[in-house]
Amino acid sequence: MKTTVLGCAAAVLGLAALGPAMGQDRSAAEGIAEYRKMLEDGNPAELYEAKGEALWKQKRGPKNASLERCDLGKGPGVVKGAFVELPRYFPDTQRVQDLESRLVSCMEMLQGLNGAEIAKTPFGRGEMANVTALATWIAAESRGMRFNLPQSHPEERKSYEIGKRVFFYRGGTHDFSCAACHGEDGKRIRLQDLPNLTKNPGDGVGFAAWPAYRVSNGQMWGMQLRLNDCYRQQRFPYPHFGSDVTIALSTYMGVNAKGAQSIAPSIKR
């Protein structure tokens, strides 16, 4: 099944590559949108969704417990709608947490796994791959719902304000910031459209599209890895998984995306 899906993706990629040569009256954005539409039927993210759902229900770890009592912000075990209200403040950890860092807390508290060890595990390996699969399933359970992050707790409002400052923070060898590429409407890098993340960029765009399956490298990426790779390309040092900076950035983007419809898990080139 997987080979069929990927084979199909490769064929469509070939078509998309022909697109610009066939006629420049059709914009690159339209071509890419069409290509994504064609892929939606066979998004390999579904495989990760199935894995994530199974992991949620499976008794695991030193405490031999499932994650079914995990509180993602709407009460223990409530999954539907949780994704579009994260990051948010959690009294038990006394932190604003995004989906992935919250999952690690639940794996530690309920299953007895070592959260610090999970956070240090490279993306795509071991328990980190499980966190990504869980996040993919949980996001899928809110597909079609609209972002509405809570901002009632002072720590949530502070996270937004910190996130805004982080978004505009210039540094690295090239003087880049998130805002350098994502601070204005209608900009591109090469042919890649750049969403303006200082406001609601629209349904299923930017924050409302991740986790996503990446066709180009055959990997499932959560928002933590998406931000990690943004910082790599900004020539910054390496952001810790679940660090305050990455969570604050998600709060900033998530609050700005209020009302945007989630299409996660989506598919990207």
């Binding site: 420049q24 002072p154 400052r165 923070y169 090239h174 090469r190 810790h240 660090s243």
Partner: protein
Amino acid sequence: MKHKHLILPALAVAAAAVVTGCATMPSPAELDRETQALMKASFRDQGIAKVDRLNQDLGAAACSSDKEPSDAVAEKIMAEARATVKWPAGGQYFGDWKAGETLAQSGRGSTWTDRADAPNGGNCYNCHQISKQEISFGTIGPSLYNYGKNRGVTDVMAPTAQAVIEYTWSKIYNGKTYNACSNMPRFGHAGLLNEKQMRDLMSLLLDPKSPVNQ
């Protein structure tokens, strides 16, 4: 009666303290300081990308918000940037536009997955239209198609071309020379490109034979 009078104001003060304690956001200056501390705590070295890359000079700090710096600060950033510009040895501003095109195409270098000896690309097409032939270009910076032609450069040795040549060199050397918060990197000042590479980019932009000026 007398006690009541004493107790009520005390309660009111306590209640007010609780309310303000919950509702008050730290001041902008406090949030700025906390952001700096969180930046330091949230990153680690990886490969060639060390945490000292988070350090900010005047320009980086002043251009890290959704508000432009004051005119006075912007002037200071630009004056400092112009003072950094190192002019090419022997007044040799030009090289090979073909090598410049190859450099303009590359967006590689300086990330934590790059080796220390991996050369940096010019990243030019990521943000600019340059030659007409390359349709995969970004739009963060202005189009540079016909850059020399539009500025009346028909002979790079002509004295009339000198002002444009010096401006272009300084812009590549340090993107902040004439725009304090420009998104353009400081290719010469930051050591991203060497003098030879910058000469090749100069030819790409200004040589009348370059595809840019056709």
